[in-house]
Symmetry: C2
Subunit: 329 residues, 2 copies
């Protein structure tokens, strides 16, 4: 489904956009967010993500869930930084097929998630396009001054944690494409997870309190953790065996003949919208208590060490990762 | 060139999006910008505008000027509010035709205008699209606390002013479409103005100091002034005779057999990116001095009075306006 991107998102950012970055507020364009001085005691944290029909969502996805997904992929970025969301700007480029019923469904999705996540619309633009439906949102949140968690900041010896479950995004895409042989309720659960990710906004305070570096898992766990490691100037030792799987993903996993390959697949798929973060060992007990209180799964997957790159292990042995992540281009 | 918008931008905002507006920061979605409390003594002013190939720019427009136009249409919104721009977030949805040369040209355009306007890139997203090139930018600026100029605020008796010249945007579109019979240097001047509007950022301090209500002229002078009148709960008496025309627009105007219709055409075309604003008569002298100092044309077009709607006059008589503005949908 990803459109071919002849130049590539990574290179475009690296070679063309980084030289244009704001010296104070852009975090070198390496951190998914911009951070500005704001009202007394707070920083303003901004993130912007776009979704395109046929690339990031399917033409037959209900427009209500498309609206929710747009907000949620952005809310996930804020959550990983420990920023409390409050508002957003929205650009809608409507394609000819979008009449009132489609726009109303989209607005209904926005309304539902505004209530769920405590955000409200602040402005934006609505235009027509002869092409595919395209939406872009700028989400805004507050973080206590100087406390927005970056990608850099982990120390050697810090542990690597991840919230929730990994791999549902990738399997969910296969589910909505009818490419998954599983019981129908499993397929439905994965499709639901693909259409409606759950940004971990409930974990914002724990992230602020304990994380030394943090990222939301959108391009694939290994790829995103690799970016954190790079920003920290460290290596990561990551154990695939405890990779947290949902019941549906586990059902899929049990049917695989190559468990190692299957786990690599899930750890390199995109669209999980969980938080992967580093925290010192001394914080583990407090993190576990907080996760338990929130009924949120929290898994220790490894450790930051001196060196560089991500070493993934299965059965104690390092495994080769051909492609650490998924890109929508 | 505008794509048909089956539901319409105005109705989409009015019926579907306004109910979702943030109670404090959105200004009811009627003011082109959001305004947030920010660092001590300042408000943060945000605006977001998108442009779509084949709708807001032409497929053969150079990508450098497309990048500049994207920034400038947003800078124009900030200037009209009296907000000093400093940064932006950018979403690029690249179509398959955009390889390195196109992206580099786009980045060169950004770089040039970053220098011209003192802004820098703070973040965003870059994705692929199978459809037309689509760009969205969120521009950020500061205004002294409580001093961002709104659409509402004019008092009966305030004068209506406009910066620069009106009608070049509309004629410029005809120029780039080769639909204009004028000397080639006139056509070139108008095409240039269409591709590279000049947001009146130099007038920001004067706007802050004197304007009681303000808007940027993007959908057509009459339509945009009408929105200000509505927000102020007033009517506007607008004289078409002093409508400020560029040399090229004047050359076009001199060739018309129906001067009244020609002026209405220009006053209802879009894409001017000038500032139309209200100011009390006592401020006129100071405004003229400041405009003169900046070599910026400033024209008094009328007056805000009790009532509602815009009455445009030509030769002292009210003229009928069939369609007050242009919409890209």
């Amino acid at each position: 489904m990803p459109a071919i991107d002849v130049a590539g998102e990574f290179e475009t950012i690296e070679r063309l956009l980084k030289p244009l970055a704001h010296p104070e507020y852009a975090r070198g364009l390496t951190d998914d967010v911009a951070v500005l001085p704001s009202r007394s005691g707070f920083d303003l944290v901004l993130t912007q993500d776009a979704i395109v029909e046929g690339v990031h969502f399917l033409p037959d996805d209900p427009l209500g869930t498309v609206a929710q997904k747009l907000l949620r992929v952005n809310l996930s970025d804020l959550a990983a930084k420990g920023a409390e969301p409050f508002g957003y700007l929205l650009t809608c480029a409507w394609s000819p097929r979008c009449g009132w019923p489609e726009r109303m469904a989209f607005a209904d999705g926005l309304r539902a998630d505004q209530k769920t996540f405590g955000v409200a619309l602040m402005g934006g633009d609505t235009v027509s396009t002869p092409g595919p439906l395209t939406f872009s949102a700028t989400l805004l949140g507050w973080a206590p001054k100087g406390r927005a968690v970056g990608r850099a900041g982990a120390r050697s010896g810090d542990l690597l944690f991840v919230t929730g479950t990994i791999g549902d995004g990738k399997l969910g895409l296969q589910a909505v494409q009818n490419r998954l042989s599983l019981e129908s309720e499993r397929v439905a659960a994965l499709a639901e997870r693909y259409r409606l990710p759950s940004p971990r906004v409930e974990f914002i305070e724990a992230i602020r309190a304990h994380a030394t570096a943090s990222v939301d898992v959108s391009d694939g766990l290994i790829a995103d953790v690799g970016r954190v490691a790079l920003a920290c100037g460290l290596a990561v030792d990551l154990d695939l065996e405890p990779l947290p799987l949902s019941a549906a993903a586990d059902a899929w996993f049990q049917g695989r003949v190559d468990p190692e390959g299957a786990l690599i697949d899930l750890a390199t798929g995109g669209d999980d919208y969980e938080i992967a973060f580093a925290a010192p060992p001394a914080a583990e007990a407090a993190l576990r208590r907080e996760a338990e209180r929130l009924h949120l799964r929290l898994t220790k997957l490894g450790r930051f060490v001196t060196g560089d790159g991500v070493t993934a292990r299965w059965g104690g042995r390092p495994v080769a990762i051909a492609k650490p992540g998924f890109t929508h281009g």
